[in-house]
Symmetry: C2
Subunit: 614 residues, 2 copies
């Protein structure tokens, strides 16, 4: 397995190497070679080196981050202010550090058009005015190939709207990203596996229903093209068998049973991101491409055809087929153009009768379990400064529609104490909901839809409608949250003499990770020198469905841009992807070990062993 530390960089100068970095006798040399990693702030390197030895380059990077995190606010601001402004001047300031000069020149900031220069100047001034420091961005971008000037200007315009605390954190994150890429050069390593994952995501994103953005809904032309592309990619990665199954899943097998089942979905939401789902296909694929021969068990990699529920009113179509939960009635579902799912499948040359779908159900005894790599789709890892996280549970959820009916009355003539204001019930409940969810770790509660139908400025709301979305890592915590929230809602409505109608619209069980598989992820992360961080998954994933059939555990990869997802800004770096590939390989090695020592095979670790209260 090629990891960053084993690669030799073509970049100028003799690479430092992990051994030299860890060698006490070469301290002066290491320090000299790492000088300038952080702009005019070698104190970070100095402090970090004090924590030698490092298990990996990633470990050293993580320690540098920690040094900055633990520094006083003033020192953090000084680090930010040590960076040059991206001026877009024809001649880049000669006083710049050489690294910065190289980076700015590499992305052509010295070749701005007059319009680009005007935009940069104006936005820089506004940014400096708002935050009091220069705008900082790793101009070489997530893949290290350099951002376009337009992308840099758009990021500046966008981040200008950020709250100050968030923007300070983002600048520090960008500084670490700059240091990470500089470090790769100094250490003579490159995240080549991660780059290949990144490039695969890029190539697959060329299939889209819309030219201007990424939309791949179930069985569209773009979806079918994506399946063909994946099939070919699987073949090129040396799988022994590959097929597009009866529901459109692309299934590749390496080696023999028992299989480790892994994968994620390749469909997207409308105008979605390039990594949601797809990362969970390409990270294992990269391991299999390089290392499948060294594994003592088989791997079945599934690119699930459908997870998002964009085209039809049903979700998890791909994984449902594998668990035997694909509903025959779904075949009659119609899309917005009146095309039934059965018709769409026929057009795509897939299942022509339901029995072919039923036959896709997997037999648990052939499998070691299911693991899924996924971009976090949330801000937790980004805010923790960690590239990877181990999922403890996929949160269970409850959704409700709430309709309130009070008494519409004149806003001027109805005294505060004589109102039956329906919207006030919602407001009071929202404040309670937030407090209640905050009181217990990992709970979330959201009022995402909220409106006073036909409200008028001068009329006390006689009606109000809102949605309620409650999630928790266990069904017990979810139900307790729902109990308290609904009880409070009832009490508020009753006190305000407002009628209440609550309809449950969704109830999904939590899918806690299999303890054995989760422990393997944790060991794998330690193996590559990173700290173990556990978090629940707030979003549903294919693993949630697979949980019905097999023990499962997920690995999360940090998202850039505060973890934004279902959005074109969804992103992650080649370096983070590299770590995911390394962690996946380490997981496989650990799994092989466990197999040898404890005979873990088939459904030995059943999901039922950690099953929930019904």
């Amino acid at each position: 397995m090629s990891s960053t530390t084993e690669l030799q960089s073509a970049a100028g100068g003799p690479p430092l190497g992990l051994e030299a970095l860890n060698s006490l006798s070469q301290q002066a040399q290491a320090f000299a070679q790492l000088s300038g990693l952080y702009e005019h702030s070698d104190w970070i390197i100095e402090k970090a080196l004090g924590q030698r030895p490092f298990k990996s380059v990633a470990h050293f990077r993580q320690v540098c981050r920690q040094v900055v995190d633990q520094a006083p606010r003033d020192a953090q601001l000084a680090l930010i202010r040590a960076h040059p402004e991206l001026t877009g001047k024809a001649k880049i300031d000669p006083s710049l550090a050489q690294d910065s000069k190289n980076e700015q020149q590499a992305v052509g900031l010295d070749r701005c058009s007059p319009e680009e220069f005007e935009s940069l100047t104006r936005l820089n001034a506004a940014y400096k005015e708002k935050f009091g420091w220069p705008f900082i961005i790793a101009v070489r971008g997530p893949r290290g190939l350099g951002l376009s000037r337009q992308a840099i200007i758009e990021a500046l315009a966008r981040r200008l709207n950020d709250p100050i605390d968030q923007e300070r954190a983002e600048c520090l994150h960008q500084i670490h990203r700059i240091a990470e890429m500089r470090l790769n050069e100094r250490m003579g390593c490159a995240p080549t596996d991660g780059e290949r994952v990144w490039d695969n995501c890029e190539s697959l994103a060329e299939s889209s229903e819309e030219a201007s953005c990424l939309t791949v809904s179930y069985l569209s032309d773009a979806h079918r093209a994506a399946a063909q592309w994946l099939k070919k990619a699987f073949q090129q990665a040396g799988c022994s068998e590959v097929e597009i199954d009866a529901v459109g899943n692309v299934v590749g097998r390496w080696g023999k049973p028992p299989y480790l089942l892994t994968g994620s979905h390749y469909d997207t939401v409308r105008n979605g991101g390039r990594y949601d789902g797809r990362l969970g296909i390409f990270v294992p694929l990269e391991v299999l491409r390089r290392q499948s021969q060294s594994l003592s068990f088989g791997v079945e990699l599934v690119a699930f055809a459908e997870e998002e529920g964009v085209r039809y009113a049903a979700t998890f179509l791909g994984s449902s087929a594998l668990t035997g939960d694909f509903k025959e009635s779904w075949l009659e579902a119609k899309d917005a153009n009146g095309i039934s799912m059965a018709q769409a499948m026929k057009t795509a040359g897939l299942a022509t009768d339901f029995s072919a779908i039923q036959a896709l159900r997997r037999d648990p005894k052939d499998y070691l379990g299911f693991v899924e790599v996924h971009i976090e789709q949330g801000p937790v890892l980004a805010s923790q400064g960690l590239p990877l996280g181990v999922v403890t549970s996929i949160n269970g959820s409850l959704r409700y529609k709430v309709k309130l009916k009070g008494q519409a009355s004149h806003a001027g003539t109805t005294p505060m104490g004589q109102r039956r204001d329906a919207a006030m019930v919602a407001a009071e409940l929202m404040v309670y909901l937030e407090r209640r969810a905050l009181a217990q770790p990992a709970l979330v509660g959201t009022v995402g839809q909220l409106q006073v139908p036909n409200g008028s400025t001068n009329v006390v709301p006689g009606a109000c409608e809102f949605s309620l979305d409650l999630r928790a890592p266990s069904n017990e915590a979810r139900d307790s949250l729902a109990h308290d929230v609904l009880q409070e809602l009832q009490a508020i409505a009753s006190r305000r003499a407002v009628d209440l109608e609550v309809t449950e619209v969704l109830r999904a069980s939590a899918a806690p990770s299999d303890q054995a598989l989760q422990a393997l992820w944790e060991k794998a992360i330690e193996d590559i020198g990173l700290p173990v961080y556990r978090l629940p998954s707030g979003a549903g994933h294919d693993a949630m469905k697979m949980h019905d059939l097999l023990p499962q555990a997920m690995l999360f990869v940090r998202g850039e841009n505060q973890g934004i997802s279902h959005n074109p800004l969804e992103s992650t770096t080649a370096d983070d992807m590299q770590l995911a590939v390394e962690a996946f390989y380490a997981f496989c090695l650990r799994l092989a070990q466990t197999q040898q020592t404890s005979g873990l095979a088939g459904t030995a670790s059943s999901p039922r062993s950690v099953a929930l209260n019904p």
Copy 2:
């Protein structure tokens, strides 16, 4: 002036008379004659009689109400439960009190159709089940002529939705209304002036743009028919001159200057009530019809053509013409059909040039002031159990549109502490606003429009929009409320890192009542034996505009149905109208006295004397 106590009733039996009621020597006779006023609950009469002497029959009624109000909850419930259910049976229960029997037969409850009987039975059962007492309604209705069976069934169905506290209060109110009508019979009096006011409102409501409801917008055919009807009514009431002026106001004059200016508007909102505005025309008209000769000053009665702003984007058109504030630009305003105001006026045979409108401006030195009688359009008098109230000020108001921009993010994956939830800012502000408004008497604050645009159940709101309507009896209190609310909004938004855009859309000054005129209303109310109750007006009225030119003070009349307005359910009783007529006459007598003693004339009491901070 004919007041209820002076009238002789045609109803059976020798009337009791106020003198006999007050005579200690006739206590037994009075008690006997009043027995049964309250169903099987003579304890109320007994206690009330203990407070003799009474200044008027209205005073006695008010004392009875007070006795019930001060009785323990159990006694109140026993009073309610002493009433028979409206069964709709072909044969009315012979065990009923004779009064109840008569009343139920009078409205034909013994002649229900099978469908009506079925509805009554079903609704009665549901009502009894919900509240635990029989449905009570004064079946003879607000005019004393009897409600239709359909109206009774509709009221039952409607009130079935009321909160229990409100419905208990409503039952007690209906019981007092029943007693009031029974008392009229026993005392041999009838609210003949109030009945005439009621009948006038009914007749005027025959002109409507819509057959099924009351809509009279500026210069519609119905509006012009109403003006002609009013002109004729003014003539029949003996005015010396009457005209429809250049903007459509119907102006009648009785006597010579200086004039007391009074009146209100005759336009309505869409599907409006019959008393909003019109009560303020017909109450003075009734006084003038009977008593204009006995007044030592002239009266100018104006039926204002427009106040509601339904047809054009401008309000107070009628009163603006009198104050000289009618804007020439309004003439270019277009209605929904593209008809300009100038065009509509021409079609109606009104002003053909702006100078004719400018000429309508009144010279303050010709006037003693402006008074306006108006239905309250709110629940305060109803909840206080009082027929009349003196307005202290027409509340000033401020309206804002608020736009919040946070960060839309995944409801499942974004921890509570990392959200920028725009709707939570609104929720928190609403809770604050309510508390702040409650902390000071007579303030109101309302979020009437509220929405998360394109909200999704599973997305943390990235945007939220709401309206803010703040009102207070003085500009100072209004501005202090606005200051606190906007400061809190800013603080909440800032703490939650949500961007805030606040736009002021309306700023109206408070119009505090002229102290001298208000004092005259208070004395007038005492003169007719009622307690003085002061309240601000939350809604705008013509008096608010007239305030720019003349000292002004308003009288409010209780509305039935918890004071609902701008709604077909808007209502008030002939007995309350009778009291308004009596109070208006008493006001005129008091004003004449003041004139004689202090020489109050013209603009002696200027509105500027109580003017506000700008």
